[in-house]
């Protein structure tokens, strides 16, 4: 194969690679399924998420505060970790999640995304911190999982968030809350 043909193939490949625009992560794809039995806390919980970002069509898929919060709400509701979910200002416990960093690759066949979040569970009545943890999660979307690179990146981002939420639920399940 001569250089010209190789260049054409390479350009065609890159065009296909970049085909499509970035789409935001979907809450339903970030909902975590518990890996083991979950302890049910009798109290109510309110959730607040900060540090997320909106997705622009020209950039990479990001996670908005609202989408992460929705995924977390659904995950906790499905797991039964807390008796009820309500507004943070009305709940027995307030869960604050800060998305510290989202590390995404520029390009690649397998896309590996890292997410780091800070979690703080506070008893609202006396503002006592019941649990605090920085959690870093990694997820790789393999080349065969989606054809377009932007889709694989979104899947890897959603997977990292899902793993992160799963880890947090497991840790909160082990708590004894007064």
């Amino acid at each position: 194969m001569n250089i010209r043909n190789t260049a054409i193939l390479l350009l065609a490949g890159l065009s296909l690679w970049f085909a499509g625009c970035a789409s935001p992560t979907q809450p339903s794809a970030m909902v975590a399924t518990p890996t083991g039995p979950v302890t049910r806390h009798a109290q109510s919980l309110g959730i607040a998420v900060a540090g997320g970002a909106a997705t622009s069509a020209a950039g990479a898929s990001k996670i908005s505060n609202e989408d992460f919060a929705e995924a977390l709400r659904q995950s906790i509701a499905q797991s039964g970790l807390f008796a009820t979910l309500t507004a943070p200002e009305q709940a027995d416990y307030r869960l604050d999640v800060q998305i510290v960093r989202l590390v995404q690759p520029l390009i690649g066949f397998s896309m590996t995304v890292t997410i780091e979040t800070d979690w703080t569970l506070t008893r609202r009545s006396d503002r006592q911190v019941a649990w605090q943890k920085a959690i870093t999660s990694v997820y790789t979307a393999r080349a065969g999982e989606a054809f377009a690179g932007v889709t694989r990146l979104r899947m890897a981002t959603e997977g990292a968030a899902r793993t992160n939420i799963q880890d947090a639920i497991s840790r909160m399940s082990a708590l004894v809350l007064p």
């Binding site: 900060a50 540090g51 510290v100 960093r101 590390v103 520029l106 780091e116 800070d118 920085a134």
Partner: protein, 129 residues
């Protein structure tokens, strides 16, 4: 991002953790910039955080090639030493046509963080060239 309740003006001693895969000594650039701001800063490996460090600085640098290698993106976090929680974080990105030197990238991200902290609390060290 500056965490609510964080007073970076009260942080006087920083320890910059060298990223193991960083062969360009970006940690030293961060350390030098903090010192230029009148702060006490040292740098080293992850297991050597001095007991008197008020904050730990971590970073992730992303480099790409366009005629020459250049720093595309720099993420930086200032953390509480005991909990590893991020007190503040920042990110700068410049593509090839508006590329900046690594010291300029470091200065920009630290300016960004301290400006946000200053706006939030009304006290933060600024300056440095």
């Amino acid at each position: 991002m500056v965490n609510p309740g964080t007073n970076l003006g009260a942080v006087k001693s920083f320890y910059v953790v060298h990223l193991p895969r960083d062969g360009r000594n970006v940690n030293q650039l961060i350390c030098d910039d903090l010192v230029r701001r009148g702060l006490k800063a040292t740098t080293g490996e992850t297991g050597s955080v001095p007991p008197d460090a008020d904050a730990v600085v971590t970073y992730q640098d992303k480099w790409v090639w366009d005629i020459t290698m250049y720093m595309l993106q720099l993420d930086l976090q200032i953390r509480a030493p005991k909990t590893d929680f991020a007190l503040a974080s920042g990110q700068v990105m410049h593509t090839s046509i508006i590329r900046r030197s690594p010291p300029e990238m470091v200065k920009e991200v630290l300016d960004q963080i301290f400006q946000k902290a200053s706006a939030a609390r009304g006290a933060a060290p600024m300056g440095g060239k």
